[in-house]
Amino acid sequence: MTLTKISHPISLEKIRLLVSKSIQYRRAILKLIYTAKAGHTGGSLSCVDILNVLYNHVMDITPQNFNQVNRDRYVHSKGHSVEALYAVLADKGFFSTELLDNVEKYCSDFIGHPTRSVLGIEQNTGALGHGLSVAVGMALAAKKDGRSDRIFTIMGDGELTEGSIWEASASAAHYRLDNLIAIIDHNTLQITGRTEHVMNMEPLEAKFTAFGFAVRHVDGNNVEELVNLLENVPFEPGKPNLVLAHTIKGKGISYMEDQIQWHHRVPTDSEYAAAMLELDAAEKHLEKTDGRF
């Protein structure tokens, strides 16, 4: 089995398309949080560019192959940022975008965390520190059966204080799961404050390296950087992959960026309108440029 993909430079058109999708997804995230009057705004905006690149460029997961065994898999370990996942899955055709009007409504399948009741979602998450273990199991199954499936998961940086993350990390390296790609949405904020103040887990790179991961840094809000990095897994054969994606919580909406109150704040009418104007402006800017930041 080989996991090495031949890397080729991504076209400017593709980057422009991905950047455009990120804007579209940010609109969808804010709309559904504004409609539901609930949601985890900041974290969804910080991880959406990663999800965009995974679903639109890196992973082989479609509504058509979702019931097949032989395909890539994604586990949304930071389950509270479900709005970003809903936005991307709707765009990928897993379900109709109109269904997102039902998020967090009575008896809706679209609840405030991912569940398998929604097509495209692999694993029920919400309690933190669970996704990496499940991803290890999926990666192990692929290795056992000699399949080339790759398993991706996004974890929050606040989540890293869960002990189960480190149990899972040991097992990922022990079983040489180079088909496992763990991505940390490193926005440095959690509900109480800065992650390093709540419970300092730095140095993260040294910790994950010591546990046996091949660690890479990336600007997690830059689609071109994400593409260039994630096209080239495994980083080192025989080692699980760990991406420290440096992101900005609330990314894309100026007054939300790096502001702790936007962890799970819902925009008011005027804030929502202002956010939409910013995204319109971002789109106009994109039309005049090559899509690079």
Binding site: R73, N124, A139
Partner: protein, 323 residues
């Protein structure tokens, strides 16, 4: 139906391990996951014979169960073999979310359950597992009484479509059944002859079925008739069998190797009250106190889980009822 002179079989643990070897030989999707527990789980021969079908996860129960969920979601038939005390407490959130809520048909095998590790103390007792798991939706719960029930339960578990928890101990168990006994998950087995009326219904699960069965002999000698049910499956709960046994009996006694809170007895009592079957009832199990230590047999004797003590409990209950 067994005779009263019960023949001693093997431990349910050894029976489980042997059964799994037979099944794994013909089904390569069967995987065993251990938490440094292959020796305690009697799966060392399995590991030697099927090295590709065992995955050691180290002493890390949370990851053990999460990984099992991931493997099952990718089509593997995963048996998690880990001491019941740790598996159902340390990894309870993984059982709840990764397995039950996410609906992956993992088979959780709680070894050395109840007070099998009696002298090692409360850390090693699992007297909470029925209570904890009964409060979690979408996981079935089994406690086989003897080798026969163990073999049938493990065979049924392989392709079982739902999450399932099976617990047993490590003491050699008497054979309670003949090979032609019908076993089905969710269907209690009556061990005593069918009658229209009984004095006592004894409803037991797991390794307390044997003493409950022996009570029936003592009671018969005293002219007291009894209906003994092996309720090997706590969920799905066999309402028909329990209602039938209770409705035909003057008094009801439940017996379990579990806390008296939240286990078999609580379930039976709650069901019978709501079904409108009102009978004097005793829940025999481990009381709500610091559990004493000793061998499994000593702890059973201490808390009245023996044929002699259960017979006395039955007679007292009948006397009170008659008074």
């Amino acid at each position: 139906m067994g005779g009263f002179n019960l023949q001693i079989g093997k431990t349910n643990l050894d029976t489980f391990a042997q059964t799994l070897m037979e099944l794994a030989a013909i089904d390569r999707d069967i995987l065993v996951l251990t938490s440094d527990s292959r020796g305690s789980g009697r799966v060392t021969p399995f590991a030697e014979k099927f090295p590709e079908q065992i995955v050691e996860m180290g002493i890390a129960e949370q990851n053990l169960v999460g990984v099992a969920a991931g493997l099952a979601s990718a089509g593997k038939k995963v048996f998690v073999v880990s001491p019941a005390c740790f598996l159902t407490a340390r990894a309870l959130e993984q059982i709840k979310n990764d397995v039950a809520y996410s609906d992956h048909p993992v088979k959780l095998i709680g070894i050395s359950a109840g007070v099998s590790y009696g002298s090692l103390g409360t850390t090693h007792h699992s007297l909470h597992d029925f209570a904890a798991l009964q409060a979690i939706n979408n996981i079935d719960i089994l406690a086989p009484a003897d080798n026969f029930e163990t073999i049938r339960a493990i065979r049924a578990a392989v392709n079982y479509p739902r999450p399932i928890y099976i617990r047993f101990g490590k003491k050699a168990m008497p054979n309670l059944h003949t090979p032609d006994t019908h076993f089905e998950i969710g269907k209690a087995i009556q061990l005593t002859p069918e009658r229209e009326k009984y004095d006592v219904a004894l409803i037991a699960t797991g390794e307390t079925v044997a003493p409950a069965f022996m009570v029936s002999q003592i009671l018969t000698e005293q002219g007291v008739s009894s209906c003994v049910l092996s309720l090997h499956t706590l969920r799905p709960f066999d309402e028909n069998a329990v209602e039938r046994a209770a409705a035909r009996s003057e008094v009801v006694i439940t017996v379990e190797e579990h806390s008296v809170n939240g286990g078999l007895g609580s379930r039976v009592a709650s069901f019978l009250m709501q079904a409108g079957v009102f009978r004097p009832l005793r829940i025999v199990g481990i009381p709500d106190e610091h559990t004493i230590t000793g061998s499994q047999g000593e702890i059973f004797n201490h808390y009245g889980i023996s044929a002699q003590a259960l017979a006395q409990t039955a007679l007292h209950l009948l006397e009170k009822e008659a008074a």
